[in-house]
Point group: C2
Chain length 194, copies 2
């Protein structure tokens, strides 16, 4: 599943690919319209080398996005989700918002060149993590059940993205973001008392 059945790649090629992908991730996270030339330069690699591995810009963007998601997955899998659902959620959000903020521009780039469905598919991982947590909270009786679970999961994403934007534009101090996000999301998910 994760191993390519391709003809075989030389070690230096692997190295180039890694450098390119990570340069692409960095560049596109800065500027979603970063040019291929710029990315190649940032990777310290000739443009033609890049084209040797990624025939098209879309392919490159996709690889960068996948890499970012993989890294995010890695970070999030280190978060302790034990204990009650609310606490777990808080810890998860604290780690999540920074990831979202980091890759917001990259995501924008992807939205420009990849079909919406593809992007959604790639986000399946992070989505499931939250969905599972929401379900758990519902079973514990602390989270609401009066709205579709898909909406609950997605609205958390929207809030995270919003917070990332506010933070980027300096309307929320970085130190406050986590608190604001958790307070907001908690209000959304908590079982309404009324």
């Amino acid at each position: 599943m994760s191993t390519d059945i391709r003809p075989r790649r030389r070690a230096d090629a692997e190295r180039s690919i890694v450098r390119i992908v990570s340069a692409a991730r960095a560049s596109l996270s800065e500027d979603p319209d970063a040019t291929i030339d710029a990315i190649a330069a940032a990777a310290g690699v000739g443009r033609m080398t890049l084209y040797g591995h990624f025939k098209t810009r879309a392919e490159l963007v996709e690889a960068a996005l996948i890499d970012a998601l993989r890294a995010g997955e890695e970070t999030l899998s280190a978060v302790d989700l034990g204990g009650d659902a609310r606490g777990a959620l808080n810890r998860l959000l604290a780690s999540s918002w920074a990831l979202v903020a980091e890759s917001a521009a990259l995501l924008a780039a992807a939205q420009g060149v990849l079909p919406a469905g593809r992007i959604r598919d790639l986000h399946a991982g992070p989505g499931e993590r939250i969905e599972e947590l929401v379900r758990r909270g519902q079973h514990e009786g602390v989270f609401r059940t009066d709205l579709p679970i898909d909406w609950l999961v997605n609205v958390v994403h929207y809030v995270l993205h919003g917070a990332a934007e506010e933070s980027r534009d300096g309307r929320i101090k970085t130190a406050d973001v986590a608190d604001v996000v958790t307070a907001t999301v908690r209000s959304i998910l908590d079982r309404p008392s009324t």
Copy 2:
């Protein structure tokens, strides 16, 4: 403030401008990348006529956005904001989400060609309307005061946009959107019981 001090325009020119702007609004709301040719065609006007009134694409997009916001403002100003803040909010949201959904693509187009600050300025109107309402709710003691008001206002926007997207992609039935949005926003704004 709203009347141009320009040299003077002929009646047919005014008419052309109106047709162009409204065609631009419609076209860009369908496809944020709509070409100038397409817009001119949709307006039933020659491309050169369009260029006669809008020197650049950005100018045209801005005019379309302003027009959409003006129309929205008009719709929203018809909403009765009397009574308690919660009820007023519900009515406001019910009208708002459809407007947001309608012009989501247009907004995307604007984000591509206009500076972020400019877009934010143009949105001042709708923002104030909600802000005022939130303040009122705070005075009535029903809305929370533990988060910055700017965030509360903006997060409502993010939720509206999210709902519009969910609706567009068919993940929420149109009939349900208003309920989902109001329930969600209400949870966000209500004074937390804990």
